[in-house]
């Protein structure tokens, strides 16, 4: 196999050619000081055993392939959901390069975010000058409507005080005194990206409702009939937010979305780069205090935020990333009860269509075992949907799941006969999951892109649902919430099941008696 201009071979094929294979074999043998292949094979087999699993689960310090990121990532996610807002991350600059890359790899979109670029001198003297210069530069250069400040672990370890720094920067004229600079401390060594989301969402709400860090009187709440909606850190935010707005509009609900990322991460290619697009207007963010209730789609992304909102007299409701019939029913009925708006026939018909689709296909899912990992709320939403389908969410794992979350998952298992043999794993990582998949195999794995390593090692087919998804394109543009979102999840699962059935029945003359054209 050699390179040629007519049919250019790239890495997929090029290196499989004999000249490269020979070269690589020689390299290994002569220069890499490799282990005996039999020993490698022995250890590989050993990692599949119960004995290895026990050693693996005995880990107390090491984390391998975690399914979580750090607070500042969630901070950026929350901030860009507001109109004309640029996240300003106070601390080392490399972090910001990472967040921007991470989001761009998932959404296939630009993500604008600035850093205060702290270096050694700031580590010694504090980052005040970086804040003063940084805010001034960001304000002049990118002309944001709001700058949302969060921190990296560096700024947290040296103890920079955002409130004082921002006040000083305003006194020095970096930005006008009345300019909106909400802030939140988001230490990377506490919680995970969902905690960072929570802290920044709380910080922004607090800023607008509670007197802008003591610079204005606190807002007085005059309750109206509107509701606030918070999505949480969600890889499907583009599709989901649009679906929620469609459902609310169909119901005639008056609402404010707090943190609407659906436009900024789905801008058109039409010759213009939009650094800012859509988002919750700052006026709406302030007026949201008057809503009668606030709904969060992800309890564990909004624990502090909802507590703050509740203090202002709102009725608050937290869901767990509802997916499927019952969870969507509960969500819509809650919205209906709070707002007094009926669920219209059109939505009822959508529900019927999802039930119809599940009835059509559940024979292929019923009794199948699944492993799920991801953020705590997503795990709950997906596990509940699988139980509805008669499937068993055998292993449910969240690296950033708490004890309380684990109890909630267990309660969900206990609510269904299909949950009888299912287990929840809080605080475990994907290397733990690897042992689970070897020692207690399941039919399918649901997770993000990193799950492909588990698929490769254990042979468990991966259904990609979660964040980040780097190696499949555009799924974030479709909802997983609402009945239509449930339909999307159902089809995603079914496609993989059917592909697997076909893949295991396609050997001519051996297994292809089952290679049916109708399934």
């Amino acid at each position: 196999m050699t390179q040629n201009a007519e049919h250019v071979l790239d890495h997929f094929e090029l290196f499989r050619g004999p000249e490269y294979q020979q070269m690589l074999a020689n390299k290994k043998k002569m220069f890499e000081n490799p282990h005996d292949p039999a020993e490698v094979e022995r250890v590989r087999d050993w990692t599949k055993t119960q004995e290895y699993r026990e050693k693996n689960f005995a880990r107390e310090a090491l984390t391998v392939n975690p399914s979580k990121a750090c607070q500042p990532l969630g901070a950026v996610f929350a901030a860009v959901g507001f109109e004309g807002t640029i996240p300003f991350v106070h601390g080392s600059q490399g972090c910001v390069a990472y967040y921007r890359s991470h989001f761009s790899r998932h959404f296939k979109e630009p993500t604008s975010c600035v850093s205060s670029s702290m270096t050694e001198d700031a580590a010694v003297f504090g980052g005040l000058n970086n804040m003063i210069d940084g805010l001034a530069n960001t304000y002049s250069t990118y002309k944001p409507k709001m700058i949302a400040v969060s921190t990296t672990c560096m700024a947290e370890v040296i103890g920079d005080d955002l409130n004082a720094f921002i006040k000083t920067a305003k006194e020095k004229g970096s930005v006008p005194a009345e300019y909106d600079v909400p802030f939140a401390h988001t230490p990377a060594f506490v919680g995970s990206h969902i905690t960072g989301y929570d802290n920044v969402m709380k910080g922004i709400i607090e800023h607008f409702w509670d007197g802008k860090a003591g610079t204005e009187p606190k807002l007085e709440r005059t309750p109206n009939g509107k509701i606030n909606f918070i999505g949480g850190f969600d890889g499907y935010t583009v599709g989901n937010m649009r679906e929620i707005k469609r459902l609310f509009d169909l119901m005639g609900v008056e609402y404010t979305i707090l943190g609407d990322n659906s436009d900024v991460w789905d801008t058109p290619t039409d010759g213009e780069f939009r650094m800012y697009d859509g988002g919750t207007t700052l006026e709406d963010a302030a007026l949201a205090i008057n809503a009668k209730a606030t709904i969060s789609m992800q309890e564990y992304c909004t624990e502090k935020t909802l507590a703050l909102v509740a203090e202002h007299g709102h009725e608050v409701h937290a869901f767990n990333h509802p997916v499927g019939v019952t969870a969507t029913d509960d969500f819509l009925m809650a919205v209906s009860r709070i707002t007094g708006k009926e669920i219209p026939e059109e939505i009822t018909r959508e529900r019927g269509r999802l039930v119809d689709a599940m009835a059509d296909s559940s024979a292929h899912i019923h009794g199948k075992k699944f492993a799920i990992y991801g953020d705590p709320d997503l795990c709950l939403g997906l596990a509940a949907f699988l139980l509805e389908l008669g499937a068993e969410p055998t292993h449910v794992l969240a690296t950033n799941g708490s004890k309380a979350w684990a109890n909630k998952v267990q309660a969900l298992f206990d609510s269904s006969p299909f949950g009888a043999n299912c287990h929840v794993y809080a605080g475990k990582d994907l290397w733990h999951m690897r042992s689970l998949l070897f020692t207690e195999p399941v039919d399918f794995l649901i997770g993000n892109t990193y799950g492909k390593y588990l698929e490769r090692d254990t042979g468990t087919p991966l259904i990609r649902i979660g964040f980040p998804i780097f190696d499949r394109h555009h799924h974030h543009r479709y909802p997983v919430w609402g009945y239509q979102g449930g339909m999307k999840v159902l089809v995603t699962i079914l496609d993989k099941i059917f592909d697997e059935i076909d893949r295991s029945t396609n050997v001519p003359g051996k297994t292809d008696f089952s290679f049916d054209i109708i399934r």
């Binding site: 040629n4 201009a5 007519e6 071979l9 790239d10 890495h11 090029l14 290196f15 490269y20 070269m23 220069f31 890499e32 490698v40 250890v43 050693k55 107390e60 090491l62 984390t63 391998v64 392939n65 979580k68 990121a69 750090c70 500042p72 990532l73 601390g91 080392s92 600059q93 490399g94 972090c95 390069a97 890359s101 761009s104 790899r105 296939k108 630009p110 600035v114 850093s115 670029s117 702290m118 270096t119 700031a122 210069d133 001034a136 530069n137 002049s140 672990c153 560096m154 370890v157 040296i158 060594f189 506490v190 995970s192 290619t269 039409d270 010759g271 213009e272 780069f273 939009r274 990193y450």
Partner: protein, 500 residues
Amino acid sequence: MSLVKTQSVAEIKVRNRELIEEVLKVYPEKTAKRRAKHLNVQEAGKSDCGVKSNIKSIPGVMTIRGCAYAGSKGVVWGPIKDMIHISHGPVGCGQYSWAARRNYYIGTTGVDTFVTMQFTTDFQENDIVFGGDKKLSKVMDEIQVLFPLNNGITVQSECPIGLIGDDIEAVSKVKSKQYDGKTIVPVRCEGFRGVSQSLGHHIANDAIRDWVFDKIPADAAPKFEPSDYDVAIIGDYNIGGDAWSSRILLEQMGLRVIAQWSGDGSLAELEATPKAKLNVLHCYRSMNYISRHMEEKYGIPWVEYNFFGPSKIAESLRKIASFFDDKIKEGAERVIAQYQPLMDAVIAKYRPRLEGKTVMLFVGGLRPRHVIGAYEDLGMEVVGTGYEFGHNDDYQRTAQHYVKDGTLIYDDVTGYEFEKFVEKIQPDLVGSGIKEKYVFQKMGVPFRQMHSWDYSGPYHGYDGFAIFARDMDMAINAPIWKMAKAPWKQESAPTLLAAE
């Protein structure tokens, strides 16, 4: 699309100078003054590009740069495949850099090879308050139990480590002793050190010197029979297989590659390198330090080369061969001749489709200059370039060997500057990173990621050039770029010219 062809060099220089003046206007005065030193229009005959470099980024301007940890873990150490690299500190750094750089390797991941895994001490508040040395120590013990075939461990420090006063060197020494002299390398690459990835490269190079080279007993027998033709590839990270499509050429000309630094590399290869007769250095920026060290300490000469595009490849093969006897020199000529038909076919196919197209680059390492020759082999012209974390020696090389009179130069470009430059110059292609990709595609400008090869590659060597040419063609000539404007919103073409 490009307007460059319609203008003389003098006109282009005037336009570029005006463009620099214009972008600087957006900044506060102090910032404008500082940024002005990083922007220039290349003057023919100058020994450098006339810009300041390798100094601190300005807060709040949206630098594209990363950090020292990225330079050490992400670039230099991460690809060493048989060692376990611990991201020491909070979870994020290791998570965002997990398998993101496409450093290809052969091995059984999780058993004897660990590149695409994320090992972290996942610092919690307690570790910050009470220190993380105990946890690090325990992490090493657990690694020894669960990954017994690992050949070594490195500790890649994240920001908090240097701030809370942990002694990772002491932990590494104790554990190395406990595990029979196992190679355990503490790396002080905290993200706040230095001004970019660059210091991370340097720190990582120094860590190899101090914790790998200096631990090899002077009387240690070589693990292989040395030959007169032993070379080491330094500064190739095997992105999409780059080092492989380079290695094959060196072997075909009669050399023996005893080590790859660090793509698809192993600890044994690092340890073998002091036995090389010549170090061939691709990414000067990230590995000149260790090359200079090996020259001083072991007397190994080093030579820079460029394996992008047939012109530079041939020049480089001859330059490398010049360090050896006639057998190798003939070998170089043989290799050049062997691939000539392929190169002729690639250029015959793609050059007519790319001739006269203009490119703007903003990349890291060696690429802002090294890829220029490959574009020129396709009849394309680089009209603007800049380094994410280059030093003055990079800009000297760029001025002396690569860029043309009038090229726009931008060091540590900001998001705003880059956007404005591209908007005004309207190149046919932008080559930069993932953070920039979608910005320019939204603007309707074709783009290729020139860090990750946009998930393609290899781009190095003759085999790589065919892929490079194909990819540039598919980016520029994709039908989609004619569809960016809705037909009912098409502007008449001459307005653009008039605006210039």
